[in-house]
Symmetry: C2
């Protein structure tokens, strides 16, 4: 089966995130200990209204709260157990939790999967406890679960007490250090509602929390930060749930280079997966992918602040002419659109602003205007109210102390009166009072102008995509199911092509020749310019062994080519004969390929074929099965698209035929998903639309079984 | 003449930057006024040991310093006059300065070129004063000149008093606001020696200061931030002087998009110039170009900190496993090399660090080690001392308060004992004491991990380039000089090809045909597959008017094609006939073009030809004339380079022949530089090396006069 996600199920995590009662196993009063810090967070830094139980066999009470000797002796089964005891006792405690009927356990303790063979064995036992008892385990080796919106800190992190800024962003991370980095973005105004930092994720993982957040009303935007993807199908299903709930997902998936992939393996023992495949899959599901950790909160904050429209027109407004120019330049370089103001806006700005200000977009109000709140507020209000402005970028190149603070206050004022998002960008390394005013007003300034423009571009792209997206990808439900049609013999080019032809994919006219004489005969029959190719189940890369000769004309030349090919290829593998084909008329050579990704299943690739794919990597990838809209979108995403359309007076090529071929391949693969590993049609020749004969032909075909 | 920079001369600015005496014209005691602030900076916030004169006709003294009524009545001619009077009196004051024998005037006053027609006229008069009297004018409409290293503030900026951090970076900017942004990078540890912010730059401009900084011992790295380039030749000569002095130049040139180009024109009335051309020229001169303003100081600081080696191997060292993985991943994605430690390093790290730390590169010392100065210091020292490590990247994902401060202190300690540059990256938005420790220790943390890796890549690229660069580009001295050989008639393809052939560039065999019969005759003579092309001085784009037919075989077909071409093209322009050419054998189609840039002169372009240039823009550009090394470098920089080398068993193409063609074109253009505007050879067919007949042929040729 390819991608049937219907059977994926997710646990209800509501009572884990918002428990009515919690037990801390390993509560302690020893300063600095895991248990002490956890007690501090839950008893003193949280606003938890439910029941809290403490387990510590050596104490009667901690901070006035009575202690119980073990989980078994608790008077009731709390919703969540937070485990903060040394590794040696954890499994026993978990078994007690399960026996007691506790539904969720958060294991803070480390010393498991990350700690050698013994730790791995312990972790495997932990996994079995979860699987066998139904106890859902969060962790181990993690800082815990931080519910910021409700102020419930099931964490040992001493920073929790200061995590006061909240916002509608839900964060699911694997590592704790980088997750805390995201929480510290609160410093510049970006608050979160919930942070799940899953550590070794023996049971619950990022996908479970994405699914939870999709249904959590306190969360509008979901952020994930991952090294590895353990179960692609569950992750996709969770992302799909977020899309169905209309909640954007912003993700950073590490593992874009060999170094990263290797480091991931030694850090988490997770498979990194192919970055290209991850990116293709994320894009297909409307997930916004970013390249750096600060960009997660830049984009998430902006998406939480305002829903991006189908078309984004940007206004630039600054007190610095130089910053105006630089911002406008970057807006253009990022492929974004600079708004053209309505004439009334320009006229009103001219009336309001001093004569030396620039009233077109970008608006340079000059430094003189920044500390004049009335003027700033009016001018910024006019720009934000312009019907052709969808976002106002406010580059602030300098910290000018109190002057800047006045400017920041004017921005906050203006934002309070408009639904058009304002994006101030504090570009200076100096953080004066103006910086603090912005953060306290709930703005989240990106760290540089470049990052700000990048965030706007991602925001705008998401809006454009959402506008054309008819809804959550239906394709994920169209898997072929576990019963698969048997794949015929396709181990040589003629057999593979016969299989393709039977499915309706055109291939060149060809005749297999078992001898030089048969080649001569085939040449008589086929006429015209010919190509001869070795037929062998052992030699998928025919050119490399001298197994292909093109441009042959006439029977004698064909016979001679047969001999040469067989002589050249025979030392390298079994030769069953030579395929004599008529050379296809001119056209654009594309490649169409399918491969089976270990994490996500079958993906299809289309791109410019021939040698260009290696040089320019102009390809588009999608999960199979495809629908027509997605197939069209793939072609539209290629840089070589104009070539198909017909450049420099060349005719339009049969783009529709290529779309049909993609859909036929998708069907074919779905039917044989259990057996099919790889399918390469390279090149696929796409001829001018309306040419006589087939206009889309698979000139070569290679099928590899799983 | 093309690019003869020998005659470019630069003023000696030493006495402007380090004057022995200064007069403030318009010294004032009115709080907040331009003159007051300038007096404050020079008298109270500077450490200026020379003579200061004040000019104010309405005061006897200011702050105890006597005032003179005007410049004329000064007892001596100071080195520099700082002009801080209203615009109306500036020209008169400048004339007095010139008459007095003052060499340099810094005009702070605005209301000139940026202020409408009247202002522009005044500024033109100012320019004439400079040209006629030899008085060198800095400004107007600028914040002044800030000598940080010697603490001489010839500026009205109230921030000067706080500009205490200095470093070996020289900064030349056009705008003041963005320039001040660079100075505020001092907050995170990057100090400057000198900041020239040139405003309208009526006389002295960025090039003059780059040239000065090239010879200024207090400066190791030069930063420029520009919107427009007024005189490309002078800028190149200044960059060349910096290269000769071994000082890297880091530059941000705004104007990468249409929006930016338009905004620049309305902001400064400067021409933005073509971004592609600017980038090509900068690269050719070894100038490091960046994309965002914060990246200027990221890279400049790193270059000032350590000279990059020919090959850079990066170590990653952090207390966060997640940050280690992310950094290693980004290092790889940026095309950088992760160091492989010497076995002794790994062994020693294993001995020093706790068992759960990762001792390969990336080194994850775990959070436990960060606040242990002894351990941190030893481990970091081992990594920095590894013979295969050229730079240590230290990602710090979190602010952990005093713990982080201990870590930062250990980094400063370790840096004090190694010449290997350490680059801490403070990734958190929270700035605790650890952040301040880094800045005070003279580290300059980039604003994000991505920006840090980008800075390292640019640093490494500069090192690699410097290692292969045999010295400052000699090509700039190889201009053909003002006497140019007359260009023959080249207004049609046959004439242009005849001219090329005479210079040694191969073209296909061809015969011009004035009639269908002549075409028939030509076909008999040439034989084989033919191409017929319209000959017309009016129709440079022959295909667009049906003026090209390929694949013609035989005399009859040629005659018929002649008729069709003439019928199709005639309505569009004068038709002189049809060129009948033998079609060239297969090969790789490249394009070679020359155009004359209004700022820099003639540039040559080479890239993959045909339709691919529009799709993939795989081109390399250089200033002419070329030397062989640069021509080879151009080809090496193309993504399509493997195609020329022969991919998938294809033979190697005649790369040397293509280099020869580039050099021939370079010579040809140099000889005709006065008359030649544009030259397009597209395609140039490059055939397998050693093929019979010419292996590099210009299949089409278009010449446009200036």
């Amino acid at each position: 089966m390819t991608h049937d996600t219907t059977e994926v199920s997710f646990p209800d995590l509501n009572r884990l995130v918002r428990p009515r009662s919690i037990v801390i196993v390993g509560a302690s009063d020893r300063p600095g200990s895991l248990g002490r810090r956890t007690v501090d967070n839950l008893l003193h830094a949280s606003e938890f209204g439910g029941d809290t139980y403490l387990v510590n066999p050596g104490r009667d009470a901690i901070d006035g709260h009575p202690c119980h000797p073990d989980v078994a002796s608790l008077p009731a089964a709390p919703d969540v157990a937070v485990i903060a005891i040394p590794a040696g006792g954890v499994l026993d405690a978990l078994e007690q939790c399960a026996a007691k009927g506790i539904r969720y356990a958060i294991v803070l303790t480390s010393g498991f999967g990350e700690a050698g063979d013994e730790g791995r064995a312990q972790q495997e036992r932990m996994r079995r406890i979860a699987a066998e008892t139904g106890l859902r385990i969060y962790g181990p080796n993690c800082p815990g679960l931080t519910n910021l919106a409700d102020r419930i800190g099931m964490t040992f992190s001493p920073a929790f007490a200061d995590d006061k800024r909240t916002g509608p962003i839900g964060i699911a991370t694997q590592g704790g250090g980088l997750g805390r980095n995201l929480i510290q973005a609160a410093e510049r105004g970006a608050g979160a509602a919930l942070w799940a930092s899953l550590g070794n994720a023996v049971d619950l993982d990022v996908a479970d929390f994405v699914h939870h957040m999709a249904g959590d009303d306190q969360i509008k935007v979901i952020v994930t930060l991952m090294e590895g993807v353990r179960d692609g199908r569950r992750l996709l299903a969770a992302f799909r749930a977020a899309a169905e709930a209309g909640k954007p997902v912003v993700t950073l998936k590490v593992g874009h280079s060999e170094y990263g992939v290797r480091a991931i393996q030694s850090h988490t023992a997770n498979l990194a997966g192919s970055a290209e495949v991850n990116s293709a899959v994320f894009a297909q599901l409307g997930v916004v992918e970013v390249d750096d950790i600060d960009e997660l909160m830049d984009v998430a904050w902006l998406l939480a602040r305002a829903t991006p429209p189908p078309r984004t027109r940007v206004a630039v407004f600054s007190g610095s002419g130089g910053a105006c120019v630089m911002a406008a330049d970057m807006v253009g370089a990022a492929g974004l659109e600079l708004a053209e103001f309505a004439p009334e806006t320009t006229a009103a700005l001219r009336e309001v602003l001093p004569g030396f200000a620039a009233v077109d977009n970008p608006v340079d109000v000059t430094a003189a205007v920044i500390p004049d709140p009335g003027l700033m507020d009016r001018a910024l209000g006019l720009v934000a109210a312009d019907p052709y402005v969808d976002l106002v970028l406010l580059p602030i190149p300098l910290d000018y102390g109190d002057h800047s603070a006045l400017g920041s206050r004017a921005m906050a004022e203006a934002q309070s009166r408009t639904s058009t998002p304002l994006l101030p960008v504090w570009m200076s390394d100096k953080r004066g009072p103006g910086w603090q005013v912005l953060a306290d007003a709930g703005f989240c300034s990106p760290g540089s102008l470049g990052k700000a423009v990048l965030a706007v571009r991602r925001w705008a792209d998401h809006g454009r995509r959402a506008a054309t997206d008819p809804g959550p990808a239906p394709l994920l439900l169209r898997g072929a199911g576990p019963t698969s049609v048997p794949l015929p013999a396709v181990d040589t080019e003629p057999k593979a092509k016969a299989w393709l032809a039977a499915a309706g994919i055109a291939v060149p006219e060809g005749v297999p020749a078992g001898s030089a004489d048969q080649a001569r005969e085939a040449a008589r029959e086929l006429r015209g310019r010919l190509v001869l190719k070795v037929v062998s189940p052992d030699l998928p890369h025919k050119s490399d062994v001298g197994g292909v000769i093109v441009g042959i004309e006439g029977p004698d030349a064909a016979a001679e080519a047969w001999d040469r090919i067989v002589a050249s290829a025979s030392p390298h593998g079994r030769v069953e004969g030579v395929l004599v084909e008529r050379m296809a008329p001119d056209g654009v050579d594309m490649l169409v390929g399918v491969h089976r990704d270990p994490v996500y299943g079958h993906l299809i690739t289309v791109g410019l074929g021939g040698v260009h794919v290696e040089l320019f990597r102009d390809v588009q990838r999608r999960l199979l099965p495809l629908d027509r809209r997605t197939a069209v979108e793939m072609l539209d995403g290629l840089r070589c698209r104009p070539l198909l359309e017909g450049m420099r007076g060349a005719p339009r090529h049969d783009v529709e035929g290529l779309v049909d071929l993609l859909l036929t391949v998708s069907d074919l693969v779905s039917r044989h998903a259990d057996e099919l590993g790889e399918l390469d049609l390279n090149p696929v020749r796409v001829r001018p639309a309306g040419s006589p004969g087939p206009t889309v032909l698979a000139l070569d075909a290679l099928v590899v079984r799983r």
